[in-house]
């Protein structure tokens, strides 16, 4: 049920894993035990509230942190965030652990009523957010976001975050999840290649197709995505175009399963335009390739544009040639777009505080420290990724790709949008992947695409066994 799980690089891990064999979600098996109801509420530590200690943390209470040991490693926790907490509460004992299998390691503990206080619920085997929330396992973070920020007591924590961060972790109107890493989506390319060839990044759809023609003439595949495990990146591109044409409400309607949301003119136009890109500028064989394989082609200068998120540069660091210089450009808007400067960007990488742990106040305080300038800066430095803390990357020498993402983000201003249906309704996500491949590789028309998606959305809406969300 998480909206976040797909907006991160872990998406790829998951699909890659799924693509191989039954690796993912085996951890969910252990989810079954969490019957709920019989857990005894633990004795929870609480201290005196003060200006220095706005969340009322008991400074002596131990705090248990569990980090997902994946792409971001655990160093940012042990070297940056935990010392920050420790500096504030020297008597507190921090129990740190990191695992690649969050669900398998933690489900039994949640079931047994002894959950850790603070969890980075991420990776292939993350715990299902909807179920955790239903079970009352997650601490409502309203208090955290309303608390004064670490750096400026006059400012609330919520005011220091990039717009949309809190919303991205809100379920049924309550903020349960902190999404810490901010991801910018767009078309990624090699600045070096473009400079060498004298190509300029397109601002409009017309420029875009013209450039793709030029690139094609140069013998390079103009546009590619990995059909085997990453059609998600491409449907993100299609829906970005739709949102630019018809405004962000197009996506909101899709999320809310509104009647006819997929048949909106904006969606149809976007699908038509992208189908044309697929027919004219893509290599058919890419449908059978996985993300890394297509990325390798881009690294070798055989592919010009690749739709993805801002983790791409760090992820590809090992295989990117010297001087490649990743850069991102927003998906160009078509003529008559209502939101030409819009950008698909959203917070991801979820963290939560356990409501039934022994130290939920400590957990929230830990999150507050993470959201301090020092905490966020440390994370960006270590992981070459932007955080949800606004402007925290200032003063850091950013890598080329991150600089580019940061510029694009600033240029977009308030025109940032995203969707959440992919995490809410897995069935819709699955159907959209299939439909996207069919559309982009010429097996179905835009009309069929919209028709098919609408049919699925309606079916989900009518299915009483599926929990519905709205935004």
């Amino acid at each position: 049920m998480s909206d976040n799980d797909l907006t991160r690089r872990t998406l790829l891990r998951r699909t890659a894993a799924a693509g191989l064999l039954a690796t993912p979600a085996m951890g969910l098996l252990s989810a079954c035990v969490t019957g709920g109801g019989e857990d005894e509420p633990a004795d929870q530590a609480e201290g005196e509230k003060s200006a220095e200690n706005p969340l009322g943390v008991d400074g002596k209470a131990p705090l248990e942190i569990v980090i997902f040991n994946g792409g971001y490693g655990e160093k940012y926790a042990t070297d940056v965030h935990e010392p920050l907490y420790k500096a504030k509460f020297p008597e507190a004992q921090i129990k740190h652990s990191a695992t690649q299998e969050i669900a398998t390691t933690l489900q039994p503990r949640f079931a047994g009523g002894t959950p850790p206080d603070f969890v980075n619920n991420s990776g292939t085997k993350f715990m299902d957010f909807g179920t955790l929330i239903q079970d009352g396992q997650l601490q409502d973070l309203t208090e955290l976001f309303a608390a004064p920020s670490v750096d400026d007591p006059a400012k609330k924590v919520s005011d220091t975050l990039v717009a949309g961060t809190i919303e991205s972790g809100t379920y049924n109107g309550k903020p349960y999840v902190l999404n810490y890493v901010f991801t910018v989506y767009g078309l990624w390319y090699s600045e070096k290649l473009f400079k060498d060839k004298g190509w300029t990044v397109p601002a409009t759809w017309a420029d875009f197709t013209k450039l793709l023609d030029t690139i094609k003439a140069a013998g390079i595949t103009p546009y590619a995505y990995a059909g085997k495990n990453a059609p998600y990146y491409q449907y993100l591109a299609i829906l970005t175009s739709a949102a630019k044409l018809g405004g962000p409400d197009v996506l909101k309607n899709i999320d809310n399963l509104a009647d006819g949301a997929w048949k909106a003119a904006a969606v149809k136009t976007a699908a038509t335009q992208w189908a044309e890109i697929g027919a004219k500028y893509m290599d058919k064989s890419d449908e059978g390739l996985i993300h890394t394989e297509v990325q390798l082609k881009q690294n070798q200068g055989k592919v010009a544009f690749y739709p993805s998120g801002s983790w791409l540069e760090a992820e590809q660091a090992a295989s990117t040639p010297e001087g490649f210089n990743y850069a991102v450009t927003p998906i160009p808007a078509a003529d008559g777009a209502t939101l030409a400067t819009g950008l698909f960007a959203t917070a991801g990488e979820p963290y939560f505080v356990s409501a039934k742990g022994t130290n939920p106040r400590g957990g929230m305080e830990y999150a507050r420290q993470m959201l301090s300038k020092a905490g966020a800066k440390g994370f960006t430095e270590l992981n070459k990724s932007l955080t949800s803390v606004a402007g925290a990357e200032e003063g850091i020498t950013l890598s080329p790709g991150l600089t580019s993402a940061s510029t694009v983000l600033k240029a977009a201003g308030t025109g940032i949008f995203s969707y959440r249906f992919d995490g809410w309704y897995k069935e819709l996500d699955t159907e959209l992947r299939t439909a996207t491949n069919a559309l982009m590789f010429g097996r179905e028309t835009a009309d069929q695409f919209c028709e098919r998606m609408q049919k699925k959305a309606d079916a989900i809406k009518a299915d009483s066994s599926i929990t519905k969300f709205t935004r």
């Binding site: 690796t23 098996l29 079954c32 398998t104 292939t124 992820e315």
Partner: protein
């Protein structure tokens, strides 16, 4: 050599022209087909071996080129980072014990069901045989809880017991047929001599059923060695990665390849997993094949 000429068939003398032509055409086509099929099997394996020395660029370049250099570090990475050696030994350990257990328990059950009549015999027999048709998938989730509730999750004991349990239907089905086919006279003679039921089983019947036992053992070794779904479900939790069996290890490397491209390492790991199997198979192939044949074609 002659096929259609009477006099030649008894002697090995060279055959007339006509026969030779028929032989040649058939043999020619047959030879070609045999060779092609063998090539279809060998070529991918050789490719994998070559790819284990290639760089990412080479692997995604033209498929049939030699590696530019002997990149042994692919092998080092696969060995040290992907722990292929460890997983291989884990697999050997698990499969050795579980196959031994399967054969012992399976033979005991099959023997009793085949040669003793008692109330409930048929029920138990069909209970076992019906297991042949169960898709493992269906049981996966409840099985997880059964193992968990017994406190056997993430333990080799749990995995081995489950392997045994899921190998029993096939084992009992075949061995029962085998025991049934053994002559009664020897058993009767032994009983006359005062052998107990247990002694009869271990000292008379088991040796007599040797060929059948060997063939089913081979089936079980192959089946359990290749098992992926069960260890995936049952070996998880804290420290599970050290206990993984080979299939999980390979799957894991291949999964990582989805986001962290180390294709050379992947194929090196693959080669490491394949090579010992080929060697072992080459050594024992005579026994394996004769074992298979004696059991399966009864």
């Amino acid at each position: 050599m002659a096929i259609d000429t009477k006099p030649a068939s008894k002697s090995a003398a060279p055959s007339p022209e006509k026969t030779r032509r028929e032989v040649n055409i058939l043999a020619g086509f047959g030879h070609a087909f045999l060779a092609v099929w063998a090539l279809l099997i060998i070529a991918p394996l050789i490719w994998t071996f070559l790819a284990s020395f290639k760089s990412n660029e080479e692997i995604f370049g033209d498929a049939w080129t030699m590696p530019g250099a002997l990149r042994l570090d692919n092998w080092t990475r696969a060995w040290s980072e992907a722990h292929v050696g460890q997983y291989f030994l884990n697999s050997v350990f698990v499969v050795a014990l579980s196959t031994a257990g399967t054969m012992l328990l399976g033979a005991m059950a099959a023997y009793v069901l085949a040669r003793y009549s008692f109330w409930g015999n048929r029920i138990i027999y069909y209970l076992f045989v019906s297991g042949l048709a169960f898709p493992v998938f269906l049981a996966l989730v409840p099985l997880f809880f059964v193992v968990r509730n017994l406190g056997l999750l993430n333990s080799y004991l749990g995995l081995i017991l489950v392997y045994i349990a899921y190998s029993l239907p096939f084992t009992v089905f075949f061995l029962a047929a085998f025991f049934k086919s053994l002559p009664n006279s020897v058993a009767e003679a032994a009983t006359m001599d005062g052998a107990s039921h247990t002694r009869l089983f271990f000292q008379v019947m088991m040796p007599m059923a040797r060929s059948g036992l060997i063939s089913i053992t081979i089936f079980n070794v192959i089946g359990q060695w290749n098992q992926y779904l069960l260890p995936l479900a049952l070996l998880q939790g804290e420290g599970a990665e050290d206990k993984w069996v080979l299939t999980q290890g390979i799957a894991n490397i291949s999964t990582s390849a989805g986001f962290d491209a180390d294709w050379g390492g992947l194929f090196a790991a693959l080669t490491m997993a394949i090579l010992p199997m080929i060697v072992i198979y080459a050594i024992f192939q005579r026994q394996i094949q004769s074992g298979l044949t004696s059991g399966a074609v009864k």
